[in-house]
Amino acid sequence: MAPAPSKLYADDVSLVVVLLDTNPFFWSSSSLSFSQFLSHVLAFFNAILTLNQLNQVVVIATGYNSCDYIFDSSSDLNRSFENGRMPVMCSSLLQKLEEFLIKDEQFSKEEPDGRIKSSLLSGSLSMALCYIQRVFRSGALHPHPRILCLQGSPDGPEQYVAIMNAIFSAQHSLVPIDSCYIGAQNSAFLQQASYITGGVHHKPQNLDGLFQYLMTIFATDLHSRSFLNLPKPVGVDFRASCFCHKDTIDMGYICSVCLSIFCKHHKKCSTCGSVFGQAQSEVASASDKKRKTPET
């Protein structure tokens, strides 16, 4: 899929909106500790900003109960929390992150029941898309925007519709969604997101080298991607599941009214109640060739 049409001043200026997963339940049980993760990621942001003077990084935190903008590299409000150890930019980011976590905790109502719940990916995707739309309308000159999801929490099925809507609107505005999944299982949502919008999806094998993965795969701007070979998933699982048994099927029956899928022939659609007509049996026109040919 072609990258965004360029109304910009140079080909390789990029605006990266990073969706950072800050689901505390995930991080408490992850093999990679949050501080290690942060150091990889902060170094990565610095690197992006050095690639081009006009590059821009925006960070949105995907929390457990809420999402918020954490950092915007083009903003002048980066107060200096100079403490000698951290570069200025990083410290303001960390400060905002901490404040966000405090706020997020206050939204928590119930005790967790042991399962890792998903973070609000749909929320942060929508916020990212809104920011990008604002950039589009800001004037004639703006960089190529793209979205990078750094996600570890599993997919939340209740967010399916919202995420798919966000994906399709990203596709429509020609914004690629890259995704780097650092959790244990596979994320079907992120795979589909990257496939549909023309981004790159990768699940790093070796989390100690996360920075290297990020630099190799996700750092380049959209224009240069046409010259590079980036990893592609061998296949994306798009198969649907049937309504009656919830099995994954690849051939089945579909109700023409509501598009619900069944694996067996039913008399009535269970979703919308429409009655199915009789199947037309194929009249074999070459019915019995033997009978038609003359005997010698």
Binding site: Y160, N206, Q212, V234, S270, A286, T296
Partner: protein, 597 residues
């Protein structure tokens, strides 16, 4: 090995007793060529098929060796001894085919083309279908013209196509043109004073449709009072007069010639029809009128006229025709559609048919009592005042849509289950800490990193190296298998010619296999020969596929062979079945169905 020639090892014997000269027998469409292995021996033979009258051969089941005996016109014979019966069979078929083609009588026709009584319409339909669909045409050329399949067989599987084509033809009727061809402009010859009008049957039909008075005049005057030619001459005289806009002259001529008067007057049939229509306008029709439509209060009804002409105009009102009237009438006729389906050349027939159809529609009109009632009922319904109505209690069926979360929930579980993770099931890591604890630990990590700064080095060199290697490896292997763009299909990356060839091969293989498998089990000799033909065609495809593979640049060769693989599998299955069947036959079951050799 195309079916253009056959080459087999054989021994040529001049008589039965002759031991035979070993050599190579080559049969082409025109001649038989036998070349002995030993160039010194005398048995060379070069005979044209024209001279071959017939063929005989020894039976498979008998103990005799496989001999093929070709008899020629002069009653001489050429005997060939083959190595095995399948060779004999093959040559026999070929010879039979050639003989059948050349029109000679062969002793046992190996190929009979069933007689088809095709009507001209059928032929036309087939030709039309072939012209429209180039894919079909290619298949047809490939198989029927090279005698792999007969016409009948080819079209037998496409009955549905032929039927829909046939039905299509009868449905559409052409309507009138929207151009006003009845408004004929004459061509004038500058030198003489003659004016020429051109009349075609199309125009005649339109004139009758648009001007019912002329139509009526035609029916009554021709051929009783005047011939058709005179009728049209008068008609055009009237047209000419109209075009000169000289209404005084028109009135004068009308007074003289009563038939001409018919053409010059306003069409009274039209007038009565218009009056009738006005009476039947639906009063519930909502037409908003505003000030702009109010022409009655403007002087002269809004038309600017020179007052002086008023006097004389009113006398000749009858003879004036306006362009708007003509156009309106033409438009009405075009929208009505063509009511006549007769051969246009016979004017009388056209006139009658038109009259008849008009009569039909007018009788329909007369039985209008109930429609009138219905109209009144509708009027009263529509004039109801909505505010004073009671509630409209229509029965409604409740909408029942299941909770989408049910579906998506399990959808997600499925996606996770089947997206190929090593664990096989969704095993979620249990988190047994409380909310406070987890948030606390997260915040602590942040403070740790704030205190310590970024890690140094961010990534250990060995780890980075490893990662890089692994990535490069995986990228290059997937590129080899899939290509750069996940949305791209393999076919698109092939050169266009190769792609077309491959696709064509697919369709032709499907066609062949369809006929092949339909012919089993073999019960008649017709089917047997057909199967043989098909098998030959199938064996011809293998080298063609190899050629395609070879013609493609090397990086695509693997993809092409992956694409070709299923084709080869299908062909192999067919050939296997064929050979197994042949095997079964030659080891022989005792009773064979009728006529089968």
């Amino acid at each position: 090995m195309a079916s253009r020639h056959v080459t087999k090892r054989a021994k040529y014997k001049t008589t039965i007793k002759d031991p035979g000269t070993p050599g190579t027998l080559r049969l082409t469409l025109e001649k038989i060529l036998f070349v002995p292995h030993n160039p010194k021996s005398a048995g060379k033979l070069d005979v044209e098929f024209r001279f071959i009258k017939g063929q005989k051969h020894t039976k498979e089941g008998s103990n005799k060796p496989p001999w093929l005996n070709l008899t020629n016109n002069q009653n001489g014979s050429f005997i060939f001894e083959f190595e095995n019966y399948s060779d004999l069979q093959y040559c026999r078929d070929f010879v039979g085919k050639v003989l059948a083609k050349s029109g000679e009588v062969s002793e046992k026709p190996t190929v009979t083309y069933p007689d088809e009584q095709l009507s001209a319409a059928e032929m036309e339909l087939r030709i039309k279908l072939l012209q429209e669909d180039s894919e079909l045409q290619k298949l047809h050329k490939q198989f029927v013209l090279s005698d792999v399949l007969t016409e009948a067989e080819f079209w037998a599987t496409r009955k549905k196509l032929l039927d829909t084509e046939a039905n299509k033809k009868t449905k559409q009727r052409l309507g009138f043109k929207s151009a006003m061809i009845s408004d004929i402009r004459p061509s004038t010859d500058g030198r003489t004073n003659k004016v020429t009008f051109n009349l075609t049957p199309e125009i005649i039909l339109q004139i009758f449709a648009e001007k019912p008075a002329v139509h009526r005049a035609f029916l009554s005057y021709v051929p009783n009072k005047m011939s058709e030619k005179v009728f049209w001459t008068k008609y055009f005289r009237a047209e000419y007069l109209h075009s000169t806009k000289n209404s005084i002259a028109a009135a004068a001529e009308a007074a003289e010639d009563e038939e001409l008067a018919v053409f010059l007057k306003l069409d009274d049939i039209l007038a009565s029809e218009a009056r009738w229509k006005i009476r039947r306008v639906d009063p519930t029709l909502d037409m908003e009128a505003d000030e702009g439509d109010d022409y009655t209060h403007l002087p002269d009804h809004g038309i600017f006229r020179d007052g002086s002409k008023d006097m004389t105009e009113s006398q000749n009102e009858l003879y004036r025709r306006t362009l708007s009237q003509d156009i309106n009438r033409h438009a009405a006729v075009v929208l009505e559609g063509r009511a006549v389906d007769v051969d246009l050349d016979d004017t009388r027939a056209v006139a009658e048919a038109l009259a008849w159809s008009k009569q039909e529609s007018s009788t329909k009109r007369e039985s209008d009592g109930d429609t009138n009632q219905e109209r009144l009922a509708r009027v009263s319904r529509m004039t109801e005042i909505e505010d004073l109505q009671g509630p409209n209690n229509l029965p409604s069926a409740p909408l029942c849509i299941k909770d989408p979360r049910d579906y998506f929930d399990s959808q997600q579980a499925n996606a996770l289950r089947t997206s190929g993770d090593a664990l096989g099931r969704t095993e979620q890591i249990k988190c047994s800490l409380s909310t406070q604890e987890v948030y606390g630990s997260l915040r602590q990590s942040i403070s740790v990193i704030k205190a310590m700064g970024l890690k140094d080095p961010i990534v250990k060199p060995e780890v980075a190296h490893q990662v890089f290697d692994a990535l490069t490896n995986s990228i290059s292997t997937t590129k080899y298998h899939i290509g750069k763009n996940p949305h791209e299909s393999v076919l698109d990356r092939l050169p266009k010619k190769t792609k077309d060839e491959l696709l064509h091969h697919w369709t032709s293989i499907l066609e062949l296999l369809k006929h092949f498998w339909a012919s089993y089990p073999i019960t008649t000799s017709y089917l047997y020969t057909k199967v043989n033909r098909l098998k030959d065609a199938i064996s011809n495809i293998y080298p063609q596929l190899e050629e395609i593979k070879g013609s493609v640049p090397s990086e695509l060769r693997h993809q092409v062979s992956l694409l070709v693989h299923p084709m080869l599998q299908a062909l192999d299955a067919a050939i296997q079945h064929y050979e197994a069947d042949m095997q079964k036959r030659s080891t022989g079951s005792v009773d064979k169905p009728n006529g089968y050799v």
